[in-house]
Amino acid sequence: MTPALLEIITPMPTSFFNCLHCEQIFDQAGIGQNMRQAELERHTEDLQEAAARLESWLEEAIRQHRARLHIRIVDPASPEGLAFSMRYWAQKYPTFLINRRIKVVGWRHDALFQALDETVTGHPARNTANEAS
């Protein structure tokens, strides 16, 4: 059975990854992890809280569905993120996309997990979760 694909368009507390040349240098010199950790701690509190909340939701989703679920996070502040935001008209973050057909906007735990359940178990999901909360 093909696993369901859950994609989340949301800003994440990234540390670097916008200069891939530099990333390689940091890693080769063995100081990449320390630098990334220091940068992560300098992000805004609300972004860190959002990341922590998302992490707990994803852990819950993985616990429930294990290998039947593939997860991917797309940062909107990237060329790929912009293309995604335009294609799926994501104007608020996070926006959750299930199999690129069902869209759940915002922190709507029950709507997201219900749609995930229905998709993973094979029952057709009602496309009622489209509006932002």
């Binding site: 670097f16 530099c22 390689q24 240098i25 890693d27 060329p79």
Partner: protein, 583 residues
């Protein structure tokens, strides 16, 4: 000859090189197994080891290997004539460039994603890892020197450029605020910042603005402050380094990330527009004005000799033909994300051949976009990057964009390509100094102290010496890494009992060539500093001694490496003989 023929030759190089030679080695020697687990699938941790589709990985690989190198190198190298330069770009990629990138990925995958340093330690000697780190540090310093001169001395000194750059930087800060603080969606953020960025570049090209910045830089004949350095060069190199300071100490989300994001779109639009303009225009190369071959020592018109074609051409064009930098990206970055072994060739080989195409376009900006007479004039005035800006703006005129806007746009484009690398470079140097010197000198743990020390070292290199020598040393440090990568791959192939000639012969060529370039450059700069002490400006004398010292350190490090490599090869061959005797 029409430029379309040059583009066609490059395309033919790709078709034969990738489609026949690379595929043949992939199929007959490496024999990738699509069902074999890769480190990305075995050790998936969601951070370093993450399987990615070959399409995504192709983009990652290309973005990692392509920066200013494939643009500036070919522009400098056409002083030997455009034919040697294009031949090295095509044949260098064909026989060496893709070999290194692809085999580094394969070696990384089959050695469980080990870093290049760890592989050097294992396959050559413990000392090889230290030598690699020395290369990396010197490489970073040389990046700051080479790019700092291009941006501070060359591009920002053009009065039509600074306002556009400063506005784009401001818009980057705005993009960060809109994204992370005001939670505005990315589409609106992108449209507002990119459109305003274009308007800002246009504003910078207006007469009164140019007059203001010209006056700020001391007028049309900017006064000399010391040695041969003018007030405009001092001013704009300091401004560039202040930008780097903020890039090094401010949180990534506040400065580096959003500025790079806005800059990406402006650079992307420039590349697309320029390529379309070139194809629409498709002029013939005027071989009378821009000879296919000028002279063996790179003397073109009134420009002085650059040096012997061998070895200097082969380090002047590094990225675009073969660059050691790519092996770092391939071995520890891409190799940890490869989903299947069979993806190594399209990702590693494919991205290298695309970079070859980018280098070809850059070469054409000098040859047809600028032309021989103006090229000599610009390079003679020390405006190497200006050649690309003028050439690109000429391409843009063929899609209706006037030079009055196209020229500052192309100059801002180059500044935006270089700045993110520079401020992250400084960020690395400050963290590295805190890590390695923090215990003995506690002040180095302070981010401001570490950044300022790195900036002062960079400033020393920017304000002194000749740019062309710094560029050759930058290329040499890069190519030494390439030689190291090819050596590692050859040793690894030997240890697996596979044919290694296809990587060992390129290693010999790269090693001998780079050592020749380093020895010659070190000799010339030190000799010049000694024999011309009475006539050279003081800054150039200091710069020549610094460049000479850097060259000698690199040369000695490479000698140590060669000594260890010979011993490793001897040991490997002895092992083979012992195994054969036992059988």
């Amino acid at each position: 000859m029409n430029v379309l023929i040059v583009l066609l030759l490059a395309a033919l190089g790709i078709a034969v090189g990738y489609g026949f030679y690379a595929r043949s080695i992939d199929k007959n020697i490496i024999q990738p197994d699509p069902n074999k687990a890769t480190p990305a699938t075995m050790y998936m941790d969601g951070v370093d080891f993450t399987p990615a589709s070959r399409n995504v990985l192709y983009g990652y690989q290309f973005k990692s290997i392509a920066a200013l190198g494939p643009i500036v190198g070919p522009i400098v190298a056409v002083r030997w004539g455009w034919l040697p330069a294009i031949l090295w770009i095509i044949f260098g990629t064909f026989f060496i460039g893709w070999v290194q990138d692809y085999s580094s990925i394969i070696m990384g995958v089959r050695e469980e994603g080990k870093t290049f340093g760890a592989l050097s330690y294992k396959l050559i000697s413990p000392r090889a890892r230290t030598i690699l780190l020395i290369f990396i540090y010197l490489y970073l310093l040389l990046i700051m020197g080479a790019f700092g001169k291009i941006v501070g001395f060359d591009l920002m000194s053009n009065p039509a450029v600074p306002l556009g750059v400063l506005i784009v930087l401001g818009l980057g800060l705005l993009a960060g605020q809109m994204t992370y603080r005001w939670k505005i969606d990315i589409l609106l953020t992108t449209v507002i910042t990119v459109v305003l960025g274009i308007v800002g570049i246009w504003l910078g090209s207006l007469g009164p603005v140019k007059d203001f910045f010209l006056a700020l830089g001391g007028g049309a004949e900017s006064p000399i402050v010391f040695g041969s350095v003018t007030w405009a060069q001092v001013l704009w190199s300091l401004v560039v380094l202040i930008i780097c300071y903020f890039g090094a100490v401010l949180p990534i989300w506040r400065f580096a990330q959003p500025i790079t994001y806005v800059a990406f779109w402006l650079v992307f639009l420039g590349i697309i527009g320029g390529t379309i303009g070139l194809i629409v225009w498709h002029p013939a190369i005027d071989v009378a004005a821009f000879p296919a071959f000028t002279s063996w020592d790179g003397k073109m018109g009134e420009l002085g000799a650059l040096g012997p074609l061998w070895p200097l051409l082969f380090v002047t064009i590094a990225c675009g033909a073969i660059s050691g930098w790519h092996s770092l990206v391939s071995s520890s970055g891409t190799a940890r994300q490869l989903e299947k072994e069979v993806d190594a060739l399209p990702v590693g080989g494919g991205a290298m051949f695309l970079e070859m195409f980018l280098a070809t376009i850059a070469l054409l900006t000098a040859v047809v976009g600028v032309g021989g007479a103006q090229y000599v004039e610009l390079v003679g005035a020390g405006k190497n990057a200006g050649v690309f800006a003028v050439g690109l703006s000429n391409f843009l005129t063929h899609i209706g964009i006037p030079t009055g806007f196209g020229l500052p746009y192309a100059s801002v484009f180059l500044v935006l390509m270089a700045l993110p690398i520079m401020y992250l470079d400084i960020r690395f140097m400050r963290v590295a100094s805190a890590e390695f010197l923090g215990d003995s000198i506690p002040a180095m743990r302070n981010m401001h102290v570490g950044s300022i020390v790195a900036l002062l070292l960079s400033l020393l290199l920017i304000w002194t010496g000749f740019w062309s020598y710094i560029w050759i040393l930058f290329g040499s440090s890069n190519q030494l890494m390439a030689a190291l990568a090819l050596l590692l791959v050859s040793l690894w192939l030997m240890s697996k009992g596979k044919n290694y000639q296809w990587s060992f012969i390129p290693f010999i060529f790269m090693f001998v060539t780079t050592m020749g370039a380093l020895a010659r450059t070190s000799y010339v700069v030190i000799k010049q500093a000694i024999t011309q002490a009475a006539t050279l400006p003081s800054d150039k004398i200091i710069g020549n001694y610094i460049a000479g010292a850097l060259g000698i350190v690199l040369f000695l490090a490479a000698l140590y490496l060669a000594y260890d490599a010979v011993r490793a090869i001897q040991a490997r061959l002895a092992e083979g003989r012992a195994e054969a005797a036992a059988d």
